[in-house]
């Protein structure tokens, strides 16, 4: 579904990715783990069109999308939940969700999707008329994911969904992520600091180090890998 080859991204003179290659197959959860500044978020941003790659290719369903602006990729079945959630705090929960379906024409279709997303996240239904800024951190993360799901993406990019959340909520969010993958069949590319949680949820994983793929394997194998355990799982 998604094939990234030799991706190079630079912000001005600072090169963030030095030729990253990775792949996500239909129905998979693939996670990118790594330290701060390893290039995880940049990879997502390049895939979703937020930054244009300097070199390399990003193919979605076999078609080159490197450099295609972000707003056009939404129509091709890609949704990106950015780092820090970035919900619209001044807009109501309903308006946030409706914006998620911005590319969808037809009120009935939007209403049907809204119902489905609210079934996925019942807490959002209780807050439907509140403004996004009044939600708790966990609810905001649910809103961000729900908003992305309104586009019915086939590929969902999630950037640090656990950021700033209490452990209990983090587990709830990850249960939902697994459920979305299972029930909606959505392919998920997940960036996460919490390597243990990410690898327990994902099918496969990539370890990024300073803009390069250092390791790639099935998630259970990475969980057992001494290198990963030492560097990212806090094991001795």
């Amino acid at each position: 579904m998604l094939v990234v080859e030799d991706l190079v991204v630079a912000y001005g003179a600072v090169v963030a990715l030095h030729g990253v290659s990775l792949e996500a197959k239909q129905g998979e959860i693939v996670t990118l783990i790594g330290a701060n500044g390893a290039g995880k978020s940049t990879t997502l941003r390049a895939v979703s069109g937020m930054v244009a790659p300097r070199r390399g290719s990003v193919r979605l369903d076999g078609r080159e999308v490197g450099g295609v602006p972000a707003h056009r990729l939404v129509r091709r079945g890609l949704a990106h939940v950015p780092e820090g959630r970035r919900i619209f705090t001044g807009l109501s929960v309903r308006e946030n969700l409706e914006l998620g379906a911005y590319t969808v024409r037809g009120r009935a279709e939007v209403a049907a999707r809204l119902e489905r997303v609210l079934a996925l996240f019942p807490r959002l239904a209780e807050r439907i008329a509140q403004s996004g800024g009044t939600l708790s951190g966990g609810e905001q993360q649910m809103l961000a994911i729900g908003r992305a799901m309104m586009a019915r993406p086939r590929l969902l990019l999630l950037d640090e969904p656990s950021l700033g959340l209490a452990p209990l909520l983090v587990r709830e969010i990850f249960r939902e992520i697994a459920r979305i993958n299972r029930e909606e069949g959505t392919t998920i590319l997940l960036v996460e600091q919490n390597a243990h949680l990410a690898l327990s949820t994902a099918h496969r994983g990539y370890v990024l180090e300073t803009g390069r793929v250092a390791l790639a394997d099935a998630a259970p194998a990475l969980l057992e890998s001494p290198r990963v355990r030492a560097a990212y799982l806090g094991a001795t």
Partner: protein
């Protein structure tokens, strides 16, 4: 501040405004020197400021740019309206009924709004979009430069030129039996002259009929001409203009509210205004939404341009300068970025200026506006309706 006191502070001006508007709609106010007259003048002027302030505030809300060329969109709209009215020959119309004037004005308003809007689209695509990532100071300087450029282009443009032109006002042709009443000196006669170069020119000549001049012979001549030669000038009266401006603002405010709050485009505008990158991730074409915002703001400025010139009776390339600055002040007063704030700020500025002019000094009323700007920026930079400033995380 207790909620009750706050409610009172909000309700009182609203009630006062409602009262003034109702009096304007039912009767002839604005010509005298009572408080109500000054208030109504202030409301009309404030409504014009509000039209222009809306564009400032919308553009600021979406890309944090004070578009100082906005006053020139206003001027371009005013000239478009001027050409429509002039070429329709509104000054020479014989008008048994007001409908043709209404139609001509509707056409002028539409032309003004579309020309101003199109100019804004071109300006956005050619000047602002390329430097959008270059920072706010660069954009601000571009705006000032564009403003000067458009003013001077208008002065050099053969069809416009630097001179001030009188705004085409319709003449209401008088029927023979009603003309002329001796008490009324505001009658004109159309005379044809031959100029030194041999051209035949039509000129207006004031005819003052007073008692003796109104001889049976004159009356007979008028009757023979069917009243076609004598008219009352500028009979699109003050009350009609003022009422139209206030009603037009009300309609524009309601329409804009609906657009921003209830439509898909409006939702996209609010999303872009809050977080451009996140809006892009929703599939919003940010460039197009910004262009639409410029167009809409300038559309309203064009309407304001025609309203302003119809009210003050003239148009020139610098027409947009002062109203543009005042509207900027109004937008800041109301809270820049806030759409209701632009309306409130405009009305507030218009009324304060005119009360100040009436009670203190006419010469100093522009000073008052700028002093208000400084005071608001010092004491409450978010304005009357602005949200408290929040640092983005």
């Amino acid at each position: 501040m207790s909620p009750r006191l706050r409610l009172l502070l909000q309700a009182l001006p609203a009630l006062a405004l409602g009262y003034v508007v109702v009096r304007m709609l039912v009767g002839d106010v604005g010509g005298g020197t009572t408080l109500l007259d000054y208030l109504s003048i202030g409301v009309t002027q404030g409504a014009i400021y509000a039209f222009v302030a809306l564009g400032y505030t919308m553009v600021y809300g979406i890309i944090r740019l004070i578009n100082f060329a906005h006053g020139e969109f206003f001027m371009a709209g005013a000239f478009a309206g001027y050409f429509v009215l002039r070429d329709a020959g509104i000054e020479r119309w014989a008008l048994p009924q007001p409908w043709p004037v209404l139609l001509a004005y509707l056409a002028a308003l539409l032309a003004a709004a579309l020309v101003a809007g199109t100019l804004a689209l071109v300006a956005e695509a050619a000047c602002y979009r390329p430097i959008r990532k270059a920072g706010r100071v660069a954009a601000l300087l571009t705006a000032v430069g564009l403003s000067l450029l458009l003013q001077n282009l208008a002065r050099q443009w053969p069809a416009i030129g630097p001179t001030q032109r009188p705004w085409p006002a319709p003449r209401m042709w008088a029927a023979a039996d009603e003309v002329p009443s001796p008490a009324d000196a505001h009658y004109y006669e159309l005379k044809t002259f031959t100029s030194p170069t041999g051209e035949r020119v039509e000129r207006e000549k004031p005819v003052v009929f007073k008692g003796a001049t109104m001889t049976p012979a004159v009356r007979q001549r008028l009757a023979a001409e069917g009243g076609r030669n004598v008219f009352r000038k500028g009979e699109l009266s003050r009350t009609v203009v003022d009422r139209s401006i206030v009603l037009m603002l009300a309609a524009a405010a309601v329409g804009l509210w609906f657009l921003v709050q209830r439509t898909r485009t409006g939702k996209a505008m609010r999303a872009v205004s809050e977080d451009m990158a996140a809006a892009r991730l929703m599939g919003v074409n940010v460039d197009r939404v910004i262009a639409a915002t410029f167009f809409l703001g300038a559309f309203l400025a064009g309407l304001g341009g025609v309203a302003y010139c119809a009210k003050y009776g003239q148009v020139d390339p610098l027409t947009g300068f002062m109203p543009g600055l005042k509207a900027f002040i109004a937008a800041v007063l109301g809270g820049i970025g806030s759409i209701p704030g632009a309306v409130v700020g405009g009305l507030f500025l218009g009324v304060s200026e005119n009360l100040f002019a009436a009670e203190v000094s006419t010469e100093w009323k522009d000073v008052l506006a700028f002093v208000l700007l400084v005071v608001v920026l010092l004491l409450k930079p978010t304005g009357l309706m602005g949200r408290p400033y929040r640092e983005k995380v």
